[in-house]
């Protein structure tokens, strides 16, 4: 673990949200905490960006007009190239059925709005760590 932390590799996070003001606050928090940020304002745009950028993690809004977060997550997990990228839902929906649905779709974490810096960064870091461990343990 110590080894990976000392490597100066900048991790990229793809943030998908249809509200630019929310994108802005997430971007600033992640950049302040040394992540590189890619943004997408729609579900479809998010899927394309994921395939292009192959980010280390994806922060995904559930409620979007064209393609909602659950559907996008399902498609990402079906995609050969993207299935291992950890997906963290950023949502206003806190109902247990949403959490269950997200987890069943393979989500790595949840961040509910409004969120603190610690919570957002914590979830992202934990998800990336877990994904990396899984990758290392797989032959």
């Amino acid at each position: 673990m110590g080894e990976t932390m000392t490597e100066e590799k900048v991790e990229t996070v793809l943030v998908i949200d249809d509200d630019p003001t929310i994108l802005n606050v997430i971007r600033m928090i992640l950049e302040t905490n040394s992540y590189r940020v890619q943004e997408a304002l729609s579900g479809e745009g998010g899927f394309t960006a994921a395939k292009e950028v192959r980010p280390d993690a994806i922060l995904l809004d559930i409620m979007m007009p064209d393609l909602d977060g659950f559907e996008l997550c399902r498609r990402l997990k079906l995609d050969e190239e993207c299935r291992d990228i950890p997906v963290i839902f950023v949502t206003a929906k806190t109902a247990p059925e949403h959490l269950r649905k997200g987890l069943s779709l393979g989500a790595s974490g949840f961040v509910t709005k409004p969120f603190t810096v610690r919570k957002l960064v914590g979830e992202v870091a934990a998800a990336i760590d877990a994904a990396r461990k899984k990758e290392q343990s797989t032959p």
Partner: protein
């Protein structure tokens, strides 16, 4: 058989005649005659009053009385005693007059003979015997008359009361002796059987049933009136009638329809309300099967309800009745089965309340409740947005200030500031919508030009970073209008904001205004996604958004157009939405040049809610 004595009085001043009468009077086997004579009328009448006389021979010419008058006086004193008038041949007319007035017969003195006297006396004695017997009956009748509980009054054809029994006092308030000789005061026009007002003994006026029939009294035509006191009965009847009327009134005025059916479910009673509820007349509904006023489904429900009620189950039931014009009336029914003394079902009485309105109200309430909970969802979602912005930036600024560049700090603060505006705008919209709903919004009018209003709106929209191109077509001669400038500016701002929201980024918005008939008409047109025909009718509804607000990031809770239209209507203006030729939408609203000054610059206005 005991020998009876017959007392004969002769009132005559000629002793020869008296002697001859005594001589000629026949002496029967077991009858003895006692003859007494008086030579004056006064003494004769005095004798009659003191003795039981069987026959009177009366001369019409006496020292103290003459002619028919003598007979008249004697007849009054010797009631029931046969009188035979003794006359001279020249007094034959007076004798005939006496016979017409009740004299038994007459004897002409000059022609006095035994045979005639025998016949006359024999007939007179028989009459006397009959009279004596009838006097006994009369005694009994008299007793009956005295004791009879109903008032009996006999009066002559002139209305003079001749006889009244004691019961008359309790009804008429006068003693019999006071009544006799006074006039019978009741009208006879009502016929033989009428009701009359009487002076009731203690409790004031009362009612008596009066029966009048013709009779004879002492040989004269007369009337007999009987009175039966029916005051108590009448009062009870009145009370019964009153209470019946009360119940009828109650049944007729009930808000509920009342219907009675027999065991075959055929209507036997319908009150006015019931008929009115279905748009029929009472008689149109009577005698019809109950199920004639229902469709198949309701008939099934009603039949099973009736069955359940027969065994005492189920208190109320709701089903639809069909009115005369075919519309459905939703009723709530309470039914009471009616049984005969053997407990057999004989039908039912039903009270039906029209709950169509109630049902509608319940649906409306449901809609409102849903609208309210939708509002709360939308508002919560809208509030979560600024909260996310505030929390995200504030924790960043607090915890990682040192890692942030000055530029980032500035950007964070600007974002917080903008989110604050958006929050304030949301709160303001909620307040305004609430004021509109309650009709308590207050307009503050001032004079301003349309150009100024549009420029203020554009300036504000630029301030939040808008980069669209606004094509403003101005008028050379701009009007000055009297409006609540702040609110009309908000209307314009809102329409421009909408145009931008539903258009591609950076597309043009056209804004112009024209002088109409006593009004200025503003138009705000976009080349955006346009609005479907069905949505066009709803855009001014509360909480309406072309797309469900929750599923896209367009800020707002669907109150902008609702509030805007109401602002304009408060100015006695109008607002509408049309599709724009070549794509997009045009919102147009007209505002009168001047507002009424009657209520001053600041006018509290109420207007119809949508």
């Amino acid at each position: 058989m005991e020998e009876a004595a017959r007392n004969i009085l002769v009132i005559m001043d000629d002793e020869d005649i008296v002697d001859r009468l005594e001589e000629y009077l026949p002496a029967g086997k077991d009858v003895k005659h006692c003859l007494h004579s008086e030579n004056r009328l006064d003494s004769g009448l005095d004798y009659i009053s003191r003795n039981d006389i069987d026959l009177v021979f009366l001369a019409l010419d006496l020292p103290d009385s003459e002619g028919f008058n003598t007979f008249e006086r004697a007849r009054q004193s010797a009631y029931g005693v046969p009188i035979v008038v003794l006359i001279s041949v020249d007094e034959i007319e007076a004798a005939k007059e006496a016979i017409r007035h009740g004299a038994r017969d007459y004897l002409v003195i000059e022609k006095l003979n035994r045979r005639e006297l025998e016949i006359i006396a024999g007939g007179a004695f028989r009459e006397r015997e009959f009279h004596a017997q009838s006097m006994l009956v009369e005694d009994d009748l008299s007793k009956l008359f005295q004791d009879y509980p109903e008032a009996i009054i006999i009066f002559d054809s002139a209305g003079m009361i001749m006889l009244a029994n004691p019961a008359a006092e309790s009804i008429l308030g006068l003693a019999p002796e006071e009544l006799v000789g006074s006039l019978f005061g009741f009208s006879l026009t009502g016929g033989g059987h009428t009701e009359v007002e009487i002076k009731h003994e203690d409790s004031g006026p009362g009612t008596a049933e009066m029966n009048i029939s013709k009779t004879q009294w002492r040989g004269e035509p007369a009337y007999i009136a009987t009175f039966r006191d029916v005051t108590d009965r009448r009062q009870m009847e009145d009370k019964l009638r009153e209470s019946e009327a009360k119940y009828r009134l109650l049944v007729e005025n009930l808000q509920e329809g009342i219907m009675a059916i027999n065991e075959k479910a055929v209507t036997t009673f319908i009150n006015e309300r019931m008929a009115e509820m279905l748009g029929y007349k009472v008689e149109e509904m009577l005698g019809k099967p109950l199920f004639a006023f229902m469709d198949e489904e309701a008939t099934g429900v009603a039949k099973s309800y009736i069955e359940r009620r027969r065994v005492g189950k189920g208190k109320r039931q709701e089903f639809d009745l069909i009115s005369k014009n075919g519309s459905k009336i939703h009723v709530s029914v309470a039914m009471t089965p009616v049984a005969n003394e053997n407990g057999d079902y004989r039908g039912a009485i039903m009270a039906l309340a029209d709950v169509t309105d109630l049902q509608r109200a319940a649906i409306a309430l449901e809609d409102q409740t849903k609208e309210l909970s939708d509002l709360i969802d939308v508002a919560a979602h809208e509030l979560r947005h600024p909260a996310t912005i505030f929390k995200g930036y504030s924790t960043l600024l607090l915890e990682q200030w040192d890692n942030m560049s000055e530029e980032m700090i500035r950007e964070a603060l600007v974002s917080i500031d903008l989110a604050t505006n958006r929050l304030a705008h949301l709160v303001n919209e909620l307040f305004e919508a609430s004021r509109i709903e309650r009709g308590t919004i207050t307009m503050a009018y001032q004079e301003i030009s349309p150009y100024q209003l549009v420029m203020r709106a554009i300036h504000e929209i630029r301030a939040v970073g808008n980069t669209n191109r606004f094509n403003v077509r101005t008028l050379e001669d701009d009007e000055i209008i009297e409006v609540d400038a702040e609110r009309v500016k908000d209307v314009i701002y809102n329409l421009i904001d909408n145009a931008v929201k539903y258009s591609d980024e950076g597309s043009d918005v056209d804004i112009w205004w024209e002088r109409g008939n006593d009004e200025v008409v503003f138009s705000i047109a976009d080349r955006g996604i346009g609005i479907s025909v069905e949505d066009r009718a709803k855009v001014f509804d509360r909480f309406f958004q072309v797309e469900d607000a929750i599923h896209h990031s367009t800020p707002g809770i669907g109150l902008g157009l609702y509030i805007g239209r109401n602002y304009v209507v408060a100015h006695r203006g109008w607002m509408r939405l049309d599709p724009r030729e070549g794509g997009g939408s045009v919102f147009t609203f007209g505002i009168p040049l001047y507002q009424s000054r009657e209520a001053g610059d600041s006018e509290k206005m109420k207007w119809a809610k949508r």
